[in-house]
């Protein structure tokens, strides 16, 4: 790293020419460039390819500064952790009346044998409603980012591995998919009785769908699970979650009696809304994972 470069760089910054993108792309590009035609990603990639000496010096500076910053953060965290109450001991502040209530009365109040399900889908259902909308937001953001023009032909990556013709992956995968689907459904439907629930069951089903798309090809997968199907499933799942839980929030807040009771703990049809909500969350998680995979791989959903 040389002082002259840094000085030149600082002077440029002072003159207001710190807009690196222009420098990197050679000439200032007009803002009104057409939105899609030349795909934006290769150009982004080129930022890392252009070896500009001046930039290289600054990348070093950035690297050193980020390392120092990370070390400071790590040091502070470690220092603070030494003052934290010891994990697992009985007199930590987290073992309080909230903890006692969840553990002791959770089953009676929510009807869920699995306390975690009772906590996230009944006691603190509003947070989980938010979380499932985080997934929805992420799905939409990835669609915005990755969905490209249907007329645009995608170039195939030279190192692209096609698992459709791989004897091992194809045969084992096709055996595995039904097992995964059944296991995922079990985790979903039994989430209020045993460890599991919407997020984990949805992840298992989502991976089964991804495996399906991988070994039978995205074309076939998108024919079976089309954009319309995903839209319908997400709409129904999130709509059901929002509306059914609003009923429960509304009755709870206004001290009205809700027609949804906890039922007999241990039965498959018990725990009020927890079972259907688990299924709804599972659908959203599975759709999110599958959508991510297809969009990153294929660039469109149908």
């Amino acid at each position: 790293m040389n002082m002259k470069m840094i000085k030149a760089r600082l002077a440029a910054w002072w003159r207001g020419e710190e807009d690196l993108t222009e420098e990197l792309y050679g000439s200032p590009r007009p803002e009104e460039a057409p939105a899609v035609p030349d795909t934006p990603l290769p150009r982004l990639h080129s930022t890392f390819v252009i070896a500009h000496t001046e930039l290289r010096a600054f990348r070093w500076l950035y690297a050193v500064l980020s390392a120092v910053f990370c070390l400071i953060i790590i040091g502070t965290m470690l220092y603070a952790v030494t003052y934290m109450p010891p994990y697992g001991s009985a007199d930590t502040p987290t073992i309080n009346e909230v903890f006692d209530r969840y553990v002791e009365q959770g089953m009676a109040e929510t009807g869920a044998v699995n306390t975690v399900a009772g906590m996230i889908l009944d006691y603190r259902a509003f947070d989980t409603l938010g979380e499932s909308f985080v997934l929805f937001t992420a799905t939409c953001t990835v669609i915005i980012l990755m969905k490209d023009d249907p007329d645009l032909k995608k170039k195939k990556h030279p190192y692209f591995v096609d698992y459709r013709y791989d004897p091992i992956v194809h045969s084992i995968g096709s055996l595995l998919i039904p097992v995964l689907l059944v296991f995922g459904a079990y985790i979903l439907f039994n989430g209020h009785l045993s460890p599991g629930g919407g997020f984990s069951g949805g992840a298992v089903i989502g991976s089964a769908l991804m495996l399906y798309a991988m070994i039978f090809g995205e074309e076939r997968a998108t024919r079976v699970i089309s954009e319309r199907v995903i839209q319908t499933v997400v709409l129904c799942a999130l709509g059901f979650y929002a509306l059914s839980k609003s009923y429960s929030f509304f009755t709870g807040a206004n001290h009205l009696t809700s027609i949804i009771g906890p039922g007999t703990p241990g039965n498959i049809f018990s725990a009020g809304l927890i079972l259907p909500l688990n299924v709804a969350v599972g659908c959203v998680v599975a759709c999110t994972m599958y959508t991510f995979y297809i969009l990153f791989k294929r660039g469109r959903l149908s």
């Binding site: 590009r29 899609v36 934290m84 502040p93 009944d122 006691y123 985080v134 953001t141 509304f250």
Partner: protein, 498 residues
């Protein structure tokens, strides 16, 4: 009826969630109408909540479900919560309405409805951040806010806007991460997530002196995280590219309300979680003061050096955010009142500048370099007038909203020991700098020359005029009748404290 209004904050949140999901399957025109009417309805709901609380003189907590406070979720509304929700809804409505022309050209066909989904989700997140009474709910909606604002930015799809959105995302995620770490530390030493219980336990811990280090670190992490997310100096470097390259509605939404929502959450943490005594005992406000003051000066200096309008307006955001943190840094109720007023004034002014700036640019052949903008206000009169009003409000001319916070900052500084002189000096310097760059721009656009004779006058755009007019009217109304707003903020802060 008075009792039924307690449901309104909850209704507005659920309604926004349902609209966001429904928009997923709608074509673009119904999506747009649904979004705009959603914002309108939610403004009415927030307004009714605000009136109810003004009428009864007290706030309320609303139980989300069948379980009481430390066990279930809760939302709460005093005076400031519905006031901010109303402000955020109004600004979203005006930004989406007034940026219509550019939304049509900026968004690739087939993606239009996703813009409105993102706007609806940002609206949910803003409402929930206003009303939440639970720090983890706060974090969940901070996530939605981050993701939806990234979506709002990257929908334009050009290389520059993607690069800017990536940079925004990185900064924003660092902020969220720091905030989450702070929440974890706080939960570890208190065992609670709801504000009232946290407040009680933190007061006990502070009095007993146990866990002083984790409490300090937690306060620092939460402050730092939210400061990074709202773009406090020296974390403002994502601002110019982000606001400069996004479609103007998104720039307006992000600079006007999203960064304000994080500051509102920080103020809630200061008042309702840690308590002002505990927070100001850590000395964090002095650091915020320092960064705020530096942000004001450096943001303005950077704005002067710009040759393009959108980047200049974006850099001035860094300066305006600096004012808010300077007010918090004064460490007094008067300072925070001034900060709140600044939140209101800036949220109403900055979208106006971005939206009218984009119009002026369209009237100058698609270039927003100052040399091409000469005489632009004659080519698009409505936009010129809106930009002039926004600029004058930014400078702090009386009768516009921007004047009142500067006055309040100066008055608050008088009572603060050791910070009075620097605050007054910074206010004076910053006003001069603001005059230099905003007045220069206003003069440029009103120059009676037409350097580009091929450009003709543009037809008035009804959507823009309605949105801009609404912002201008509210701006002037607040500027001329500031007393009710100031006393609302003062009452709200006293409700906040108990």
């Amino acid at each position: 009826m008075i009792d039924f209004i307690r449901n309104f904050p909850f209704f507005s949140i659920i309604l926004s969630l349902c609209c966001a999901v429904t928009t997923f399957v709608l074509p673009k025109k119904p999506a747009r109408i649904l979004s705009l009417s959603l914002f309108g309805v939610c403004m009415a709901l927030s307004g009714a909540t605000l009136l109810r609380n003004l009428y009864t003189g007290e706030g309320f907590v609303y139980r989300m479900g069948h379980f009481d406070a430390p066990f279930g979720n809760e939302i709460a509304a005093g005076l400031l919560e519905p006031a901010c929700a109303l402000l955020f809804g109004t600004v979203l409505f005006c930004s989406v309405l007034a940026g219509k022309e550019r939304l049509l050209t900026d968004i690739a066909p087939g993606k239009e409805r996703f813009y409105y989904i993102m706007a609806d989700l940002a609206h949910v997140a803003l409402l929930a951040l206003c009303y939440t009474n639970d720090i983890f709910t706060g974090y969940v909606f901070v996530e939605i806010c981050t993701l939806s604002s990234a979506g709002l930015l990257m929908i334009r799809g050009t290389g520059k806007s993607l690069a800017a959105a990536t940079r925004y995302m990185i900064f924003s995620l660092i902020g969220s991460g720091l905030f989450l770490l702070g929440v974890i530390f706080l939960y570890g030493i208190t065992g609670h997530l709801l504000f009232p219980q946290l407040h009680e336990t933190v007061a006990e811990i502070h009095a007993a002196g146990t866990y002083a280090v984790p409490l300090l670190i937690s306060a620092a992490l939460m402050t730092g995280g939210l400061a990074v997310k709202s773009g406090l100096f020296p974390f403002h470097f994502w601002m110019p590219d982000t606001y400069g390259t996004a479609t103007p509605s998104s720039s307006g939404i992000l600079s006007g309300v999203i960064s304000k929502a994080y500051i509102f959450l920080l103020l809630k943490v200061i008042y309702r979680v840690l308590g002002t005594d505990v927070y100001f005992a850590t000395g964090a406000q002095n650091i915020l003061y320092l960064f705020g003051v530096c942000g004001i000066v450096i943001g303005s200096l950077s704005a002067i050096r710009q040759t393009r309008l959108s980047r200049m307006v974006a850099y001035s955001s860094a300066a305006q955010i600096g004012y808010i943190y300077m007010g918090i840094g004064l460490g007094s109720a008067a300072g925070i009142t001034a900060s709140f007023f600044q939140i209101f004034a800036h949220a109403l002014t900055k979208p106006l500048l971005f939206l009218s700036g984009a119009k002026l640019r369209a009237a100058s052949g698609g270039s927003d370099a100052f040399r091409d903008l000469r005489g632009a206000a004659h080519r698009d009169r409505g936009a010129g007038l809106a930009f002039a009003v926004g600029s004058l409000s930014m400078i702090g001319l009386p009768i516009f909203a921007g004047f009142i916070p500067k006055l309040l900052f100066a008055l608050a500084a008088m009572d603060s020991y050791g910070k009075a002189i620097p605050t007054l000096v910074v206010l004076a310097v910053s006003t001069i700098l603001n005059v230099i760059y905003f007045l220069h721009t206003v003069i440029t656009i009103y120059l009676p020359v037409n350097t580009q004779p091929q450009l003709s006058r543009r037809r008035p755009d009804a959507a823009f005029l309605v949105g801009a007019l609404l912002l201008v009217v509210i701006n002037v109304a607040i500027g001329m009748h500031s007393q009710p707003i100031t006393s609302l903020i003062e009452q709200g802060l006293s409700l906040f404290a108990d």
